[in-house]
Amino acid sequence: MGKLLFEWDYSSYPGARRYPHLFKPIELGNLTIPNRIKYAATEDNLNGRDGFVTDAGVAYLRERAKGVVGGICTMQGVYMDEKRQGQGYVGQAAAWHDKFIPGLKRLADAIHEQRAVACCQLMHCGRVGAVEVDYCQGPSDVPQRLRIFRPVREMIKADIKQCIKEHVEATERLLKAGFDIVEISGIVGYLLSNFVSGYTNRRTDEYGGDIRGRMRFLVELIQEVKKVCGDVPLGIRLCAEELLDDVGGNTPEESMISYEMAEEAGVDFFSVTAGWQESIVPVISRDVPMGSWIHLAKRAKEHVKVPVQMAYRLFRPDLPNKAIGEGHLDFWEMCRSMIADPLMPKKVLEGREEDIRHCVACNLCLARLFRDAPMTCYINPVCAHETDPQFIDPRPAEEEKNIMIVGGGPAGLECAYVAARRGHEVHVYEKREELGGTLIEASQAPYGDEELFNCIEYQKAQCEKAGVTFHLGTEVTEELIQDELPDTVVLATGPVYSKGKGAGFDGENVVNVLDVLSGKATVGDKVVVWGNRKPGIGVALFLAKQGKKVTIVGKDRSAGFDVNPSFKWRYMIYLRQNGVTAYNDCDIEEIKGDEVMVRTYDGYRFPVECDSVVATEREANDSLKDAVQAEGIELFVIGDALVPRNLSSAVHDGYRIGIRV
């Protein structure tokens, strides 16, 4: 029986009965971990550019440590060299000198304060690293496929020895800081994965050649770090499938050999991953169904004896619970799902799943990190604001108000429950008979968009618990405002759908995007979608999936201007695959019975055949503004009613006004 750092008894919790496999102990090296929950290492860019841990970084991790309810909480990977060749993120923590130990200790202490197991990670970012240096390191100077990364400089043997030494010294510092588990990162294109992969390792010396040669560096590194770790469990995040077939990456068989060799070298657990940043197939975005990668954990379990952990689209507890029960997995790891809701596993344990704010797998968090911006979450407005008491624990209202929220979409509902929790009397008016606003229709779009509606389920549950009163099927008019005379009105009415300036926009063959997605409007076989932002892309794919010939005509320079780059590339591929033509930088000049005249930004014109036009262009919604102001009532306008944007803006707007009003 391994050492138990903190006693936890889950027997009285409903979640432990519902998901018994998630809340049973497991041996990990010399430790006994009371449950199967792990917050996996996630960069957050919240630390100083000099590598020192900050208050923001500590507060961010403390919240996640609270969430794992006694399980493992991992800090972000540290870089270990003074030259910063291994640094992959501007706000990455460093461990190349003893001066960083006090900061690292703060992270370990913050985890221990929550009675969780503190895991640290060593991460040399290799060919995707070196943000502050004009070159990066790798086994061979194989050029980058993604141009955002630095040119690669081949490591000589002295570099390899130095790198091992730096891993060892950093481990010593992290252990001094109080961490209970050490993890090595060998995934997604970071240095160790570069050595293991046939794609990036073209060396002809003993560190190259076949998979055994390519594994030599990793094996030596594990052996040296293991010496320092002693009884402290040592694990590795390692790619089980690189998904780099197009450039000569490892085969699954080679990956499993790498697992066997790493185990033989001394690791006590594996974290299974799939794909690289350079892979051209989707791995973790919303279009990949949840649970798609469990087979990789199962395969790993067939090749190694030590525990196997995995994240990768396991956003619902039933999936890992089942996989653990069937012996395909040992630990449920979470990255993005605990960015979206740091307390997710705690809520699972307490039987409060309706309180979970689910990740929508948009990858905005990654897009931000790759662009040197601090972590943020599309769906969680509190993320990276954990040091701000106004965000993390909004003060009760100084004066209790009667608040009328007009619109039961994501902006209105977010604002409603936050304001109600602060003591306000909140009434949400929705002209339809159901809550959700435009998300009701938007979540009908293909490639995983149904997951977007989880946001409404969460907000609805929070509103109900906070005592928000819903007035469904009630359209707010000037008279209603005059009758109710609330202290505050929040207009969250959603956008107004634009009418084009050209002739023919009043025709019967012009239909609204919401009517199309809800099935209220029918369209012909040749459709022009007016607008090339996310609503346009969503409905274009929706119709193309029905076999229709779809053409997008939009004013933005490129389609999907409002979609973050980490997801946009998926949409571009799906548009191509579904035969959708997009004319960007264009507008519709005129609509006739069987064609539209398209005009480019610089005046060229050409006709496009079509039976129907779907209007998706939006503008701010000014209705009721004057009526509210005329009564001298405090007014806020949020979400698409203010400026048509996306779900994230609606939620963030709602939260910010909710804590302010």
């Binding site: 100077d141 194989v142 050029p143 980058q144 496929r145 993604l146 141009r147 073209r202 077939d245 197009d246 450039v247 000569g248 051209i280 005129e590 006739k592 064609e595 005249m597 610089d602 005046g603 060229y604 014109r605 050409f606 006709p607």
Partner: protein
């Protein structure tokens, strides 16, 4: 909804040709600036070859995400050749591709190219134009070869600036 296709195509065509002309002129204006900045001892050919190398390397990097090895090496090679051709077609050249006699060999034929005309207009040597094109073409291959772990070469068999009437290059596996 009156639409005069001929008129629209004409306007587009003029816009395209104007842009193509600007590409060539911009290059030679910068060449002139670089030569002036480099001083009287600088050799125009050295400066131009360095520029060609930078351009080739950059173009090669842009090729990497577009080339798909999973379609097989012959398809990959034809794709590479098409990428070469496309680059010059964008500048206003007429470029044709032919399979070579050997399996991994493609002949790229420039039936027309605007670059010798620009060279003449700005007083550059005709041979400089040939050598710069060669350098661009070879520099493109540098990253492509390493990335895909192959060894392809490109050689010039004929060149318009040398009076051959066409440029003919052989792209082949070594």
């Amino acid at each position: 909804m009156s639409f005069n296709a001929e008129q629209e195509i004409n306007r587009l065509w003029r816009g395209l040709h104007g842009a193509q002309d600007e590409i060539g002129r911009t290059y030679y204006r910068w060449r002139q600036a670089a030569l002036e900045a480099a001083g009287p001892d600088a050799k125009p050919l050295d400066v131009s070859l360095r520029a060609a190398e930078i351009m080739g390397t950059e173009i090669g990097k842009a090729f990497l995400p577009r080339l798909n090895w999973l379609k097989g090496e012959e398809a990959w090679l034809m794709n590479l050749a098409k990428s070469y051709a496309g680059n010059w077609i964008n500048h206003g050249a007429i470029v044709k591709l032919e399979k070579g006699e050997n399996p991994f060999e493609v002949l790229i034929k420039w039936e027309r190219c605007p670059w010798p005309t620009f060279a003449k207009e700005y007083g550059a040597e005709m041979e400089e134009d040939v050598l710069c094109c060669d350098r661009i073409l070879q520099s493109i291959l540098k990253d492509v070869n390493v990335f895909f772990d192959v060894n392809y070469k490109i050689e010039t068999l004929k060149a318009i600036p040398r009076g051959d009437g066409e440029c003919l290059r052989r792209l082949y596996k070594d």
